[in-house]
Symmetry: C2
Subunit: 432 residues, 2 copies
Amino acid sequence: MLPPSFVAADDAGAVLALLRRQLDVLVRRSPFYRELFAEHGVAPAAFDSIEAISKFPFTGKQMLRESQAAAPPLGRHAAVGMAQVVRVHASTGTTGRPSWVGVTSRDAEAWTEMTASAMRRQGLVASDVVVHGAGLTLFVGGLPVRDAIERIGATMVPIGTGASEKAALAMSSLGVTTLHSTPSYARYLAEYVRERLGRDPREFGLTKIMVGGEPGGGEPAFREHIQNEWGATVTEGLGNADMAPILFAERPGTAGMRYTGGKHVLVELIDPVTGDAIDPEAGASGELVYTAVDRECCPLVRFRTRDRVTVTGMDTDGAPLIRCIGRTDDMLIVLGVNVFPSAVRDLVQTLHPRTSGAIQVVLPGEGPRVEPPLRVEAEWGESRDDGLAREIEVLIKARLSVPAAVTLVPPGSLGRSEMKTRLTRLDGQHTP
Amino acid sequence: MLPPSFVAADDAGAVLALLRRQLDVLVRRSPFYRELFAEHGVAPAAFDSIEAISKFPFTGKQMLRESQAAAPPLGRHAAVGMAQVVRVHASTGTTGRPSWVGVTSRDAEAWTEMTASAMRRQGLVASDVVVHGAGLTLFVGGLPVRDAIERIGATMVPIGTGASEKAALAMSSLGVTTLHSTPSYARYLAEYVRERLGRDPREFGLTKIMVGGEPGGGEPAFREHIQNEWGATVTEGLGNADMAPILFAERPGTAGMRYTGGKHVLVELIDPVTGDAIDPEAGASGELVYTAVDRECCPLVRFRTRDRVTVTGMDTDGAPLIRCIGRTDDMLIVLGVNVFPSAVRDLVQTLHPRTSGAIQVVLPGEGPRVEPPLRVEAEWGESRDDGLAREIEVLIKARLSVPAAVTLVPPGSLGRSEMKTRLTRLDGQHTP
């Protein structure tokens, strides 16, 4: 029996043929890939089975940045020029200048198809009315998600970020069924509705909260909090600014996200240290790696996403289901133990309403190695309760196996974000 | 010979047939129009020639607001329900709650076609790279303009508002040829580039500035200032949140905007006081009135736009060219003379760089009638120059025939907007 795979068995033949052609195109049109393949002594002909992708070299974010710096604006990895590009997005990353992501008409159509497929899996149907509460500018989860909502035939209400009053107005008057946003914003907007409008978010009658763009939607306590606030079901999607807006999506009631990108992307799970392939069996954990099967502009080959995922189980037909546990960039190592700040947040969330749920890990220097104890600031909730800090320390030690020093701070002092929320800060930096 | 008309002679037959069918649909599906037509004793059959549109009653913004309040969310004038609506925009107006503007797939396609037609007339071609620097959320000039840019095959860089740093970054690295924004923002962004980045906007090499969303692009000195700042040609478009994103657009080098909405809209020019039709001959002035020929959701019949325009001349084929001189809502009456605050701004702009160009008219109470003198605050520019106030007063008296009292204020004190700029404020209100 074959090992479980993200690519559907029915699609494997087509993916093999399409990707082989794609690799040929890259060698002809992209100096970046031509040189990279030559350096590694590999040619498109070597791609003679899906598994043979492992013969090809990895690429990473820094390589793309350097490629763009060397040949602005789209980079030496781009296989078409600006004349064929219909739209430019940006991958903001966690630091520094954005890198540009160009999209041709064909790329845009593939994104719409993939994103619509993901959102259908999350339960979106033509009769839904969706508040799009995510950035509509350079953010890859913006305009392409709008295209998908309209492709499905649902009603799109373009709110963007920073317009909570308009979001609430739309929800109270347009028969809105669905909110699409980051999990941070789904949480923030509920807080806004309660505190600024004095209303219960449940009054709006939403049934679906579709989140993505950052981890959080898969953290059980964080998700439970959002579901309780809105009285709606949370599902999450996972995408990548350099690859596609949504590539994995969760059907309500399943235990994880399934690959929904069809024949457009070859997905691998690898050991982040050795780079070796990992079979996506239940319980497996590793880093996602993407190869574009038919991308025209800014194509990627074995792109290391830094997204750390675990396989939570299998769908009825044997397809792997996953959860993202955090980004390698954010991962901390305390006494040899891997700790994701999002896991700390989820633990603290379990003590809501005694905590507000907001936390920040304070780092003495650049990670990932952190001298113990792990310094955590957490907001108290209903009232100050000095025993709470110790309680959180015990919880972190018990569940995450690392010693922590918790400081309680007043509600609201750790800031709120309408986009992605940062869960760490360097010591000496202000809370954003 | 027929009087000049906004509808092309070749389109008149189709417009007549389509609009007659549209009026039939409205009577069947929209209680608002059924009752309105009955009250005025008029039936769709009365529309037996283009000119016969004058038999039908006017509609106005307040009627649409009341219609939406009576039958939320889309109103009694809507001819389809939310199930057929793919997107909801809002008309913010100058005051109060937004009113919703629903769009079906067919409406969206018509908007894309009209908007692309307008932008082609403004000179946009497939090889252009466009920074879209206008709101991408509920604003009608946002997402539909994006659709038009992509329809033309140009490259769309979605920046939106409030992201001047990103706009400048895009301009300095993506080979941007074109900025689409409000005239206020085109001006503000140049100021931002000079003052915050210490660069000359001309360094970016833009060739086209396409403005709309508010008056200003047609004010000669204001336009000249923007053209000089960017070293690029300014063209303007005119739309209406309730009707279509762009309905009139200017070809570079022509003296005004031409109707570019094809068969989708029947445009009239009327006397704003008597409501009588005015032939759009050179020199004529009046209010624009729109009737939707084939709109499915939120259709309009003889909608009074409040946009005051003058016919500046005729295109080579006899089509009228117009400039918008302001909105009736903003018009002031001083000693019986009509004064548009935008005209005051344009006069003050002629004294740049001795003034920054920013002004605000301070009103003792709700307009339009203002006791003389007209109170104007204007920012000084390079340095304070007390003779300047008197000079502006003389200029306003000479050109606009009204007495004015001008107060000079420091640069920056009248605020800057990344969207539409307000040119008036009530006495006692803070500068925004």
